[in-house]
Symmetry: C2
Subunit: 246 residues, 2 copies
Amino acid sequence: MRERLHPEEIQADGAGFLPSLAIDTVIFGFHEGQLKILLLEYKNTNWLALPGGFVRETENLNDAARRVLAERTSLQGIYLEQFYTFGDLDRYDPTPLRAIMSAHGLNYSDHHWLLRRFVSVGYYALVDFTKAVPVPDLLADRCDWYDLANLPPLMQDHQKIVQKALDTLRIELDRKLIGFNLLSETFTMADLQRLYETILGQKLHRSGFQRKMLSLEILERLDKQYSGGAHKAPYLYRFAFDKKPE
Amino acid sequence: MRERLHPEEIQADGAGFLPSLAIDTVIFGFHEGQLKILLLEYKNTNWLALPGGFVRETENLNDAARRVLAERTSLQGIYLEQFYTFGDLDRYDPTPLRAIMSAHGLNYSDHHWLLRRFVSVGYYALVDFTKAVPVPDLLADRCDWYDLANLPPLMQDHQKIVQKALDTLRIELDRKLIGFNLLSETFTMADLQRLYETILGQKLHRSGFQRKMLSLEILERLDKQYSGGAHKAPYLYRFAFDKKPE
């Protein structure tokens, strides 16, 4: 895992990047009833932050988000969903960034581009955190999964960004389910219900849940295989092939 | 109605504005089965565009969107909803802006800030177009409602922005219904159904529609008033008071 600040980004004038525009990513991780998010800890400071970065003049905004996530966490091929752009004046507080730059032994002036106001485009993703393991390298700040129910204080307005991402995920889960590629090729209705309960943070009624999921018309029920004595084996489902996003 | 370009914005260095960040607004207007959007026509050019503008260094992003809409169209107090941020490299084509600046008799260099790449934050709103009447002033470019089903070619990627806004509106209509304040204080289920059919561009089944709307739990059914001979008067509804956004 690399550090939040790259050699290019700490140039005083920000040459090569779009000024005033940042990216922050909220990576939700779930596994067996647990919901976590991925946070970076800055070296030699106590600041915790979302994996974030900046947009090169020569790349698409959405490509920049994928690059930033890969650079900060070594996670590749995560399906990121843009969800909101944060542009309040009061989100900007240069204090943490000054501390971080000092901790890196940087001399900087008050005109350094990183100390100016940024509007940040937020992206979220949902992954199985046992499969998406951030890989630290020698320069590493810490990068770890943190329990969503018990978050430490975050830098700037990152707590607000996390909450907005969670609200969006909960509202959009039905429509994003296939794209996030969360379950194995085939799964039971109980597997799916456990995923929903983890994300929504509440128990659901089995029959109502099943009825709702079937009404979405994204599931294909597989023929039961004869499996010896397991006469009460649950049906297996998979996502209907023609509903998968391209 | 004022022009898209303001005296401050046509300064070469863009002082006072966030560089590289723009705003575009998609204002949907409906009335009696018709769906339109609001477009600006630039003076002395054939370019049609969404009402748009830029973010001052001293204002919140969402406030800038409301200001931009008010300045370009004279429409005040419209409830705007941020929906997506457009940042592809290929959205940027300086040709129309050069033509517009020339049509305004402006001398400009290739380094003019308006000719650089912009990422644009999209906002949409939904209004009754008989109540939201853009008011032209003496400097006016044209600003009019255009049939969504029969749009003229738009500047840059504005056609794509309109389509994304429409997709979002259709998906979010249930949740945004109250905030947009579209109907009179009380309304019939048929009024509501007509609104949905206009937005979705398709006929809906009456009973299924009623069942779905009631399941949203945002409607309050009023007691029938005795109204003489109108023994088949439909029920009137209003939005449940405690569900209104603050």
